[in-house]
Symmetry: D2
Subunit: 423 residues, 4 copies
């Protein structure tokens, strides 16, 4: 009995405990792990804007079990009653983590060091935390970026995770994602909401990044993406070789893999067009050079170059070519992707699983994500990455994106009228 007492520890948790399901998740985890708990204190916010407070006693079967219970609770936002300093271990080799490394979530995270809480920069899921004791900063690092001597956080002590609360404002748009059978939603209305979100994000100077696959060109929607770039709603483009090559083929010859994009028929000798497009880029040396020489005069890549919208094209094993602009070293490509995603407020994932998953892995939970694909399993998989503001839209990008553009044009037109009226 007395012995049993040893494997107990008090923890506390604050916030919209019930509404945001934080407490539910903590109870859940403890029970799944066959642990035991007592609610020592529970103050519920009387009104909906007040936050709640709970003090719990977790009881494990042994030290290891208690440790697992605590870890689970901490990851959901609980904290020990008495805060302890984070544990660090200096790494002795490049690209290796200590065995007991703290593996990050994609929620905002702080570490307690030297009597103060330090924000972890660039938080991403499943990475480690490197502390800079001099500057009193901490950042989230990929394994290949770890250098000998880096101070890496180990264990769960002194790490505080701030779970996302359920957004209440604009609740309705997020209801779309609550049901997975989203192919049965009013698509026109979703297009309108997405357009609104894009507009509002841009108006408030929020950075919007588009991730796109080559289906955009086949389906005839690349003209809409080019338009979005022109309209200044895209502040960065993440894609692969295929989007660029199809876009160039379309710009130069009006086809995508030999299919006329304007009517869906197959071109004569169309099988060569794809390779010819690639050859043209090699001949010019780069996409930018093609624009400068006046060879490339339209399309997504053209608009990006003309409008100074940065893009990163990541190579993949299935690339034809790939064209010179593609970063064929994938660790390097990851770094460039990550760099372009910095401080993004919204990410549109358009019909590409490969690049969207890559991007999902790099995003903090706070970024708005809109994932569009015609396949429900693909959308579900993308939303699994766990950003709390993600919307999945199961629709045909070939009709959806033109509608978003149309809505944006209407919004702009109304906005202009309002401004004029005010003047």
């Amino acid at each position: 009995m007395l012995i049993a007492k040893k494997y107990e520890q008090e923890i506390e948790v604050k916030g919209h405990l019930i509404d945001s399901m934080i407490l539910t998740r903590i109870f859940d985890k403890v029970m799944d792990l066959k642990g035991d708990f007592q609610v020592l204190e529970f103050t519920v916010g009387k009104r909906k804007k007040e936050s709640s407070y709970a003090r719990l006693l977790l009881m494990g079967k042994n030290q290891q079990h208690l440790y697992e219970l605590l870890e689970s609770a901490y990851r959901e936002g609980a904290q020990p009653i008495t805060i302890q300093q984070v544990m660090i271990e200096p790494e002795v080799k490049d690209m290796i983590m200590p065995d007991n490394f703290y593996s990050t979530t994609n929620n905002p995270t702080q570490i307690y060091y030297n009597n103060s809480w330090i924000d972890v920069e660039n938080i991403m899921m499943d990475k480690c935390i490197v502390l800079n004791t001099e500057k009193k900063t901490a950042k989230c690092n990929m394994i290949r970026d770890i250098k000998k001597g880096d101070l890496i956080v180990v264990g769960e002590r002194g790490v505080r995770v701030i779970p996302q609360e359920r957004p209440r404002e604009g609740i309705d748009i997020f209801q779309f994602m609550s049901s997975t059978s989203s192919s049965e939603r009013p698509t026109l209305q979703i297009a309108r909401k997405v357009a609104n979100d894009i507009y509002n994000t841009t108006v408030t100077s929020g950075k919007i990044i588009v991730v796109s696959g080559p289906v955009l060109v086949h389906s005839g929607a690349s003209a809409s993406l080019a338009k979005l770039v022109q309209m200044k709603y895209v502040h960065g483009l993440l894609a692969g070789n295929a989007l660029a090559v199809h876009d160039i083929e379309n710009a130069l010859m009006g086809t995508s893999l030999g299919m006329h994009v304007d009517d869906g028929t197959l071109a004569i000798r169309g099988h060569r067009n794809h390779m010819q497009a690639i050859n043209e880029v090699f001949k010019a040396g780069s996409l930018k050079a093609m624009v400068q020489k006046g060879i490339l005069r339209s399309g997504v890549m053209y608009e990006c170059i003309i409008n100074h919208v940065p893009f990163v094209l990541a190579g993949s094993i299935r690339d034809d070519g790939p064209i010179p602009d593609v970063i064929t070293e994938i660790v390097e490509a990851q770094r460039k992707y990550k760099h372009l995603l910095k401080d993004a407020k919204m990410v549109l994932m358009l019909s590409t699983m490969l690049h969207s998953i890559a991007v999902g892995n790099m995003l903090p939970a706070s970024v708005k994500v809109i994932a569009v694909d015609i396949s429900q399993p693909v959308v579900t998989k993308l939303l699994d990455r766990g950003t709390s503001q993600a919307i999945g839209v199961v629709t045909d990008i070939g009709t959806f994106l033109p509608m978003v553009v149309q809505c944006l044009e209407q919004i702009e037109s109304i906005s202009r009228k309002k401004t004029q009226t005010t003047l």
Copy 2:
């Protein structure tokens, strides 16, 4: 050796043998059945509009084997050199076919009786043929419609199938179906082509039947279908209880299964709306009564009633209600479906597998079918039914149908201008 000769028979076949793959299919079947053949005579049409002629000797291992080879060849359009009269057997009971009944294809079919070829009316796949010796007519019958005394065609003798030749006019629209990865086609262009086809069919007084599921309402596209009815492009509607109920719920309360169709949010007490819609129809007695009493004032069903477009609602085991207009006896519903489909020139299948397969089973191969669904396997399955002019479009009905309507409005506007100019 001499004995082997007994299991031989000459057949002949005419038409666009190579281009339409008729000869390929005959050779194919014979070889699959491990049969042997010789080409006795082969005259190829020298120019592309001339038809070809072939005379073949089929050789089987035994009488049964030869019979199987011949049957396969006949079903692809071949004929014996000497024509024989069709064999018939009078049925002695209701709803039973003779063991050796001839099972139909969905291609135009004739039977040779009393020295002349008689067209089989209402041809459908996998049914039997009933001969009327007095009127010298023949029709295709479902098993439940067979009456005692009916003269039913047995065996393959004296039956001529006229295989569909590959359409060469408007070839490009049919190329869409050649590839199954149709989710990667330019959807806006497909919408335009479909609109053109609808317009041209209507202009030439062709009958267009729409088969539709309830997703049309959820996805916000039912307003577009209502518009199509209003514009007189729909000459019959085949659906189930769900389409009607969702449409009524939407017309009365603006929701579909409790979701506001105009913005995708969930209605307060929305769970009741579906049942309440059903109750309203029961209270009025029928959809028509609801319109007459001024209760129902918009939507697909309203437009059908106002515009005198006939509809058949077939019951299914998953129906809520079902409302009084639904035909709950499915054999009766099949007869009414079949009746409405008579002489249809085009069928639009919109996001319903159940009713589309039912309709596919009732159609001759000559009817144009456009099957739209967001799931590629569903579209593939619908096209399997074997009409030779079917197009599958893998897209979101919620965005596709509004675009088709928009294109039709443009076509009409251009057409009006032309007429005015001519005047």
Copy 3:
């Protein structure tokens, strides 16, 4: 101010409020409806087995708003502090409900009448409740079963819903459904768990109903279902015409729609087999007659008949035939389905969306449902019906069911050994 007070009401709620998310859902609904609330009292169960109690004050903007808030809370299991008698309204016509009818959930429900709580029998979602004041019983009724004079519950007063608590025992099996990307689960292990569940349910005399589509025959898995029937694990079969016809075709000719089920090749003259199978049933008069005459000697239907397992075949608009055993009147078929489902403890839904949705609509939330299909959207849709113990398995029924049978044989073998050892 004082006036505002009028639109308030106290409610209370008991149970595993946090763990089972009951309180979360109530707060959620109130906030979605833009209502306000105060937590007047909250006693948390100190240990995980103790239940919690909460007393809340709901505040609406007006009477109607308050009513909506209350209704939402009641449906999640809350109750007014002072219990009021249920309101009823006698119906004046057949097949019509009063405008303000109470629309049921699929959770256990009670109504307060004459100072006592009466259980509602046969609870199903989206139906109405009919009270028998003499017998003091209540039952859940479909609209077409309502008779003139029935006493129908109206409004939300005096109705108590008992929400399902999250099952903690056997938690791991239910984790399978928590993720929708279930196509990435270890299928062999799931098969084992499903086999265990089937075994345990049968051992405790629980009724198991199988709902199955014709894919079972094509995919070669119908032998496994026949085996399950033989092994006495199936206590009722719900299907349509297609399953029976394919099964008969397979039993008589070894093919399914003309494809040899034992090797996947196409049969000679195979196109006729389907129609011939139907004709054979018409000739015999019924499936049972076919068995009695020795014509039908194997397959799913044969095993059902021989083992006295009741089955209901519901007609649908796409049926070929349909055979005489099919109930072609769908309201009648619904009643028979519902009858066979009475007191079922477990339902296996095997690759049929139509019949599975029908069954899902008829089930109380307490029934264990295992839905198997190769399409993730179909599985998702089936689970949407809201039974709290449903598992979705995205797999190929053609390999999954044989594995379940194999596991059951192993379990039986182990069980027999144990028994022998004990003796």
Copy 4:
């Protein structure tokens, strides 16, 4: 009239013209291009094993049109009556092709140079041909492998494509792919056929390459792949970082992305396992080093290393890590993939779209391909690559692969018995 004659040319074609649809395809292309033709001579093989011969006159509207008609015909296997020498152009820069480069098909191809036909080595689709005039050899090259001075084939002259004839032996296995609705096939029988093919290929010393994705580990099928390697049926493995990492995680900790592979439950602290597995490989330095140090003792990668089966892991933008064994430069990875695929007789594509498409692009049409995935659109897309012996199986790899292994064990056991009996 006389002028029109200028745009004509005679071509000839030999082989199983009708059966293999070669003539059909030529007529088809000419008609699609609005060209005209006459059949000057046509000798049909009288018996099914005899080949046919046709001489055609193609007539274009102008020189360019005639050129297009001829090109289309050549690509289907036709040849001009008088053979002309291939045209070549020396390239003046690295990684650039001449504008008029000949773009390859994936069928066996020869070029006519110096009075003899030279086989093109390593044929792949959509590449160019480089001629070595000294050695009288030609090879198919990717654009990035082109060096300054390479002699590249331009135009269509002097290039002969040998179209694949339809295989008649083992016809039934290839029928599986003829229908796209392959999810409705008897999976157990397909598993048996695939096992037979694997066995027969290996017995005749044919090289079998497996392409696999990480789903194999989640779904519990990686043990079966490890077994296949052990049984010597795998002669090369092409995959990415994810397969290796999941396999290592499974081998070290029994989990895959934190899910216990043996029962599908989630591991405690499971979120770290994935990263920990990666860290372990970095600590050891390589997979091979892990095996040598005794850290890695089971799984797919372990069996490959122990059994000296070569593998190539290609990096991708979504990789975690990636581990040191991954080739992160994708052009280099492509070269290594291509090298391992040399002379492969059969390729199994297991649940990975990215790597399977990459491999499909590198294969000549003669290689047997079996593509397995639970998503029909994915399988369809893989088969689109155009190998003529590809089979698509829409099934759950988690149940399918164990069955293939089981069948192989049975085949081996029967084979051993036969050998013993013979002795």
